[in-house]
Structures are given as structure tokens and as C-alpha cells.
């Protein structure tokens, strides 16, 4: 890890932008500038700012690249704003140039449109509920944003209930708004989460790790005993099992698995399976 940081520091000192392609899956630091693939030929080795003159200046190949979390556009380059590993995803359907993002770690959640989160109802005022989602301000949830809710048929939501919903409005200028239905009007599992169970908080990176399609931790956990889990992208996890002891064991495992190696995890699971 020390050599990786040294290389990064060296490139910053030399103040020459690296190509994004060469830095994939490596650690990047805030302030670094990255070149997109189409600009690499312009900056040749020892380029010194020379650009080959083109006769058809307007016919530059415009590949639409999406810059994801942790990156920002700076001129025609990518500027890194968070420290972490640079990732890239090829476009599946062929349109656009793929997505670049930084895989970073943080505990504080910032509301993002489209994210599914677990919120706690803190207040009920008139037609809307105020839901605490762990961001800078509580999100608003209209009572009509539930499946089958009408003005006469109000949903049964009390202060202190847990809600699983998604954001429809989430930017730095406005109060975040969430709903418990999708664009077709169906609930799709969103709404009030049942009673009992335990809600606890973890880092945002762990949530994404646990929700990865090939996550072994979840597969092993599912074999222990009947249980139910809800993951919120705001770092909150709700778990429920048949007894309180099982619920607590599950919560401890999920919290601890962030810092365990694969072997340690396998040891713990085998010990649990025996008992």
C-alpha cells in the first residue's frame, strides 16, 4: 500500500495527468486529474502541450462517458474528489463510453435520487411525514405515496415506524423527498417495515459490498437460520430472526464482517453452525 501511495504522490509532483485506463483499480487521491482514452494521443510522451493540428476540428469522436461518484469534470478531464480505488464499467448496450467512479468509504450518507433507504418517521404534519434518513435534513414523505393510498384511505404510519422507500428528489438545493411506490404505482416491497427486529448502522461501503451479486457473506448467512434483512443505502440495516438471540448474533456478524478476513469469517460461521 505504501508503494501505491508513493507512485500517486510522484505523479502529482510531476503534475502530468495520468490516463484513466492505466489507473484502473488503483488508489487515486483527491486533486488528481485523469485523462480519458480519447485524449491520450494528444498528450504524447513528453508532449509539452503540443497538439497535432487537425483539419476537421469538429469531428472529434464524442464518446459519452459518465463520471460517477467521486469524480468531477474539470475542463475535458476527470478530477478526483474522493480517495479510493478507481473503477470502470463497460457499457452493456453499446451506447456511451462506460462509467468511471471511485470506490470510496464513508459513514455519512448524502441523499441521492433513486437510492432505496431505511428511514425513521419523526413527525407527522398535515399531509406529509418527516422521515429521518441520516442526511443533513429529514426527508418528506407524502401520505399518498403508498400503494393503494387515497385521500380517504390513509396508510397506517405512526411516528417511530421504519420506512423502506426511495428518493425522487435529492439534491443540495432542495429538501429530499421520498416515496414508497415505484413509477408504475406498485409498492415493490417498499413501505412500512414490520415490527420487532433490530436496526443498526454500518458504513456505506459495507452495504455495497454486501449487496454485490456474488457476495459470499450473505450466502453463508442465509444458511444459518430463517431470517429477514433489509439493506438501506444510507448505511442502515434492519434484521429480524425468530429469537432475540439469533437477531443479535446476526447483527454482530454483519457489523464485524467489514474488518474480518475470509478465514476468520469462515471460522466464526463454522462455530455458529455447530452450536
Amino acid at each position: 500500500m505504501a508503494e501505491v501511495v508513493a507512485v500517486a504522490a510522484e505523479s502529482l509532483a510531476g503534475s502530468r495527468a495520468r490516463a484513466a485506463r492505466t489507473v484502473l483499480n488503483q488508489v487515486v487521491l483527491p486533486g488528481e486529474e485523469l485523462l480519458l482514452p480519447e485524449q491520450e494521443d494528444a498528450e504524447g510522451p513528453g508532449g509539452g502541450g503540443e497538439r497535432p493540428l487537425r483539419l476537421n476540428a469538429g469531428a472529434r469522436s464524442r464518446v459519452r462517458v459518465v463520471c460517477g461518484p467521486g469524480l468531477r469534470r474539470c475542463g475535458d478531464r476527470l478530477l478526483v474528489t474522493k480517495c479510493g480505488r478507481l473503477r470502470h464499467k463497460e457499457p452493456g448496450s453499446g451506447s456511451g463510453g462506460g462509467v468511471y467512479w471511485v470506490d470510496s468509504q464513508q459513514k455519512r450518507y448524502v441523499p441521492v435520487k433513486g437510492d432505496h433507504v431505511i428511514g425513521i418517521v419523526t413527525a407527522k404534519s398535515g399531509d406529509i411525514f418527516k422521515v429521518d434518513v441520516g442526511g443533513s435534513e429529514p426527508a418528506s414523505l407524502s401520505y399518498l405515496a403508498f400503494e393503494g393510498a387515497t385521500k380517504r384511505n390513509r396508510p397506517n404510519v405512526q411516528v417511530g415506524d421504519l420506512i423502506y422507500g426511495q428518493f425522487v428528489v435529492a439534491n443540495k438545493d432542495m429538501e429530499p423527498e421520498m416515496v414508497c411506490i415505484d413509477s408504475c404505482g406498485r409498492a415493490n416491497g417498499m413501505g412500512v417495515i414490520g415490527h420487532d427486529g433490530l436496526l443498526f448502522k454500518v458504513t456505506l461501503g459495507l452495504i455495497r459490498k454486501l449487496l454485490a451479486p456474488d457476495c459470499e457473506i450473505i450466502q453463508e448467512v442465509g444458511k444459518l437460520y430463517p431470517l429477514e434483512i433489509v439493506f438501506g443505502m444510507n448505511g442502515r440495516i434492519w434484521v429480524k430472526a425468530k429469537t432475540i438471540q439469533q437477531t443479535l448474533i446476526l447483527a454482530n456478524i454483519l457489523e464485524a464482517c467489514e474488518h474480518m478476513t475470509t478465514d476468520q469469517r469462515k471460522q466464526i460461521f463454522s462455530r455458529l453452525a455447530e452450536s
Binding site: 460517477g68 461518484p69 469534470r73 467512479w101 437510492d115 416491497g189 455495497r208 429477514e228
Partner: protein, 153 residues
């Protein structure tokens, strides 16, 4: 000298509707093209590479659905898991061969005779006779109403 110097009409005047009626289609297209070019050049655009910014991790990583249930703890959630995760992976939905109570063939057979039965209800007494004559299975539609024929001169 006066004949050589033609009075030149202004551009705006030429663009007016009544002046363009006399032009032929080619000159009209030319004028249109020029106008579009002028309007297009006035529009400002940023000459930057297309870099859209998205803050969501959803399109970066393929994440599973957030609600999970194991070993039958919550059957509805387990059904949802299959539905939502299949949607994410863009799998083709299995052809739901809906179990029907009545097969298509039987339906067609019934409809064949149904037309006759309902038609009988609305037919006049005269036409009902023709129905009963052909009641061995095939239905013959009642003949057309005989309209009044105008006498020919």
C-alpha cells in the same frame, strides 16, 4: 444609366410572404437553408467532451435488491427477491403458460354456436324459423332484410 441601376429591395422585404409567392421551389429552399444556418450559428454550445455526471452508485455497480429473506421467514419477500433480481439482470421472463379452465379449441367451438344462440334472441319471428330449420349444428345467419325496391320506370 437609370435603367442599369435597379432599385435593390431589402432582405427583410424579400423574406415577406407576398414576395415569396412568385419564387420557385429551388430559390425557396435556398433561402430557407440560409435562414437555418443563420439561426443555427447564433445558438451557443459548449465544445466539451460529453461527460455526464451521475452521483448514484446504482448505475455503477449492479446491486441486488435491498430486501432479503432466507429459509422461508417471509415468503412475500422471497417472491419479491426473485422478481426484482431477475429484472436487474434483464433475464427474459419465463413464458407464463397460464392455466386456463377451458382450452382454446373448446372456446372456438362454443363461440360458433354462441353466435347463433344470441342471434336468435334478436331475430324477428320470421327469421327465427330459419334458425330452427338448421339446428343440426351449423348456424345459418338469417337472410338480409328485404328492402323496398323502387319501381323502375
Amino acid at each position: 444609366y437609370a435603367a442599369q441601376q435597379k432599385t435593390k429591395l431589402s432582405k427583410n422585404l424579400m423574406r415577406m410572404k407576398f414576395m415569396q409567392r412568385g419564387l420557385d421551389s429551388e430559390t425557396k429552399k435556398q433561402l430557407e437553408g440560409e435562414e437555418k444556418k443563420i439561426i443555427g450559428e447564433e445558438h451557443w454550445y459548449l465544445d466539451l467532451p460529453a461527460l455526464t455526471k451521475r452521483q448514484s452508485f446504482l448505475l455503477c455497480e449492479d446491486l441486488l435488491y435491498g430486501r432479503m429473506s432466507f429459509r422461508g421467514f417471509n415468503p412475500e419477500v422471497e417472491k419479491l427477491m426473485l422478481q426484482m433480481n431477475a429484472k436487474n439482470k434483464a433475464e427474459v421472463f419465463e413464458d407464463k403458460t397460464e392455466e386456463v379452465d377451458v382450452s382454446d379449441e373448446e372456446m372456438a367451438r362454443r363461440y360458433e354456436t354462441l353466435v347463433g344462440t344470441i342471434g336468435k334472441k334478436f331475430a324477428k319471428k320470421r327469421d327465427r324459423v330459419s334458425y330452427e330449420e338448421h339446428e343440426n349444428g351449423d348456424v345459418k345467419l338469417p337472410k338480409e332484410k328485404e328492402m323496398f325496391l323502387k319501381p323502375r320506370d
